[in-house]
Assembly symmetry: C2
Homo-oligomer: 411 residues x 2
Amino acid sequence: LISLAAGFTDPDTLPLAEARDLLSEVLASPRVGRSALQYGPTEGLPALRRLTGERLLAQDSAAAGASPARELYQPERVLITHGSQQLLYLVTECLCDPGDIVLVEDPTYFVYLGILQSHGVRCRGVSMETDGLDLRRLESRLAALKRRGELGRVRLLYLVSYYQNPTGVTTHFAKKTAVLDLLRYYGRAAGHTIFLLEDAAYRELRFGGPDVPSALAVGPHAQRVIYAGTYSKPFATGVRVGFGLLPDLVRRAVERVKGNHDFGTASLLQHLLARALATGAYDRHLVELRRRYAGKAEWMAQALRRHFPPEVCWREPRGGLYIWAALPRSLPSGPDSLLLERALAADVLYVPGRLCYAPDPTRRAPNQEMRLSFGNAGEQDIRTGIRRLGEVIRTLLTRVRRGIRPAGRPH
Amino acid sequence: LISLAAGFTDPDTLPLAEARDLLSEVLASPRVGRSALQYGPTEGLPALRRLTGERLLAQDSAAAGASPARELYQPERVLITHGSQQLLYLVTECLCDPGDIVLVEDPTYFVYLGILQSHGVRCRGVSMETDGLDLRRLESRLAALKRRGELGRVRLLYLVSYYQNPTGVTTHFAKKTAVLDLLRYYGRAAGHTIFLLEDAAYRELRFGGPDVPSALAVGPHAQRVIYAGTYSKPFATGVRVGFGLLPDLVRRAVERVKGNHDFGTASLLQHLLARALATGAYDRHLVELRRRYAGKAEWMAQALRRHFPPEVCWREPRGGLYIWAALPRSLPSGPDSLLLERALAADVLYVPGRLCYAPDPTRRAPNQEMRLSFGNAGEQDIRTGIRRLGEVIRTLLTRVRRGIRPAGRPH
């Protein structure tokens, strides 16, 4: 089976030698080594919090071509977690009660939908454009919630803002500003802060086009921005180190819950990352990584151009791990579709797009999309997998044209 | 300030050279190294799950002098977590709803009380004897809950069964059997399983006396035993790897929630521990560790014999990190006590015993005990700290004898 479904990173990019050297250096010094093997502060290793704040400030400064407010990047605002996934969980646990509402992109990162569901939170999807959320849809959503008296239950808007999982879309900076303006306006009407949870998990997996400043750089809205980032995906997913930059009140609440969860992120992992950042090993690795993913994305794009019929819409990725392909509406791709069945019979797996849509009873979710990952598979598997999928799609489209309706619900 | 409060382990015992060699070996092999730097299964690394089950089976067999049911130690029953703290959290999240009741030892591990509180769970304390829970009190507690129709809300009994934090008490095996019999009886009356959550965090920090089999070895009760263990405390607290052995239904639920929390424990940490266990490095380290803690416990015991007045009751530890000292009732030790104030003025800190009692409005908790840790402090600090505390206690006891009541509530 060729899996184009897994969100795993490329095994060939894993920094074995670098990690070995860095860990050896960390443990060679009795002072640093002891700190790496002992409990640390729940909020994270001071050096890593500082390096994280500085790094993000530098990224946002470079992307914005101007210097954002330095105080938003202070180490005190940084919390280190076991992957950014843990930060998403903690934030949701702290901010949401059962029955509360969270706004998500349509489609969005499906694992976060699981987190929301486990907290009994209701999801409301907002459809997307090629540069991020459809602002008019967001406004009409919020206005409708206000009309129905449900604005008081809206806690946050979750945005995967860079090379989104699953669509690959990056949110334009102007949209972040506009989104925050809307959240401020409706937050006032709600009588509480509606937060923007910006999930920047794929930001550093950028291989085409310029960087975009984070929502922190919008400035006057800092008290409603929660920024989630990760070192795991770019460096090594087996080293679970993520981070958040949070408004003070939220940070303190999240830190308390983090203490209950696990007392803080494993010191050894934090020291490894701090050293990788401080020595430049992390950035050198990033150069290699981007070159590699750019190549893999191009193999997939070549194969798609060659093997997928022109009715299928997709765009060349500029970062991340995914290509999102939209089939004609007549060709469902969902878990119970003939397409998935045929793809599996041809030994190739994709993520049905349907799974990336929140369970939102107030709108119909599309059912003819697929998420294709070039992260984990090698060149041959990418080419063969796309060829096989293309064959299955062409065969089924021919049936559709002949008037034979494929099995599976259109929605 | 000399802190005899922190539950940190001894910095001199941290295995710097061993960790360095083991990590270097793990990352030297491309196959193993890649697995260490990549995502792994949510439930944990197969090799570590197997080693964990085998290790526990060997421990229980040796302690029981007989072979417990092997199927209870199968790798499928093992879940690896970011420290055993995370397991406690996940189990509580899965099994308890707000308003539910959890039975705890009086006193108990205060961080677990925080977990219970954060889930809105009500605590009911059961007082202890020198070999574990007072069974008559446990039975009368359960009987009272039954009479009041609250048995349906009782989810689990939490037992820190080896060198308990904070008292140092180890639960006798016969008591585990009796406790499980009671839980079965009252579980039937409740109409659901009441679980025994056995927290064995200190089991491997044993330096005197024989090992005791776990509650798993009781056998017929396996479906109500959840066993939580850890490699962090014995090996290195900066390497957060704990584990649970769980009944199938609970394991599956906990695994699902663990997936939402963080996708699984960092592979690098799991490989480090798996290699430490497989090569014998872990067990060699344990020999050193036990020798070291035995020595530190003896320093503290010597100092206590010398500097504490005979009115203070305490017992020589046979494992763990703590000595529990009970003062006369006339001398409160709580957070607002004159004793704590004077101790801080003398630059020495202990954990007020009061903090280790659950917020249980149905009984009065004692307020004249202190938890003294010999884990983190060095020899000189242990001796000086205890001498200073002894002086403060003697001074205040003299005042009490003269009829001057120390500040602070007796309860």
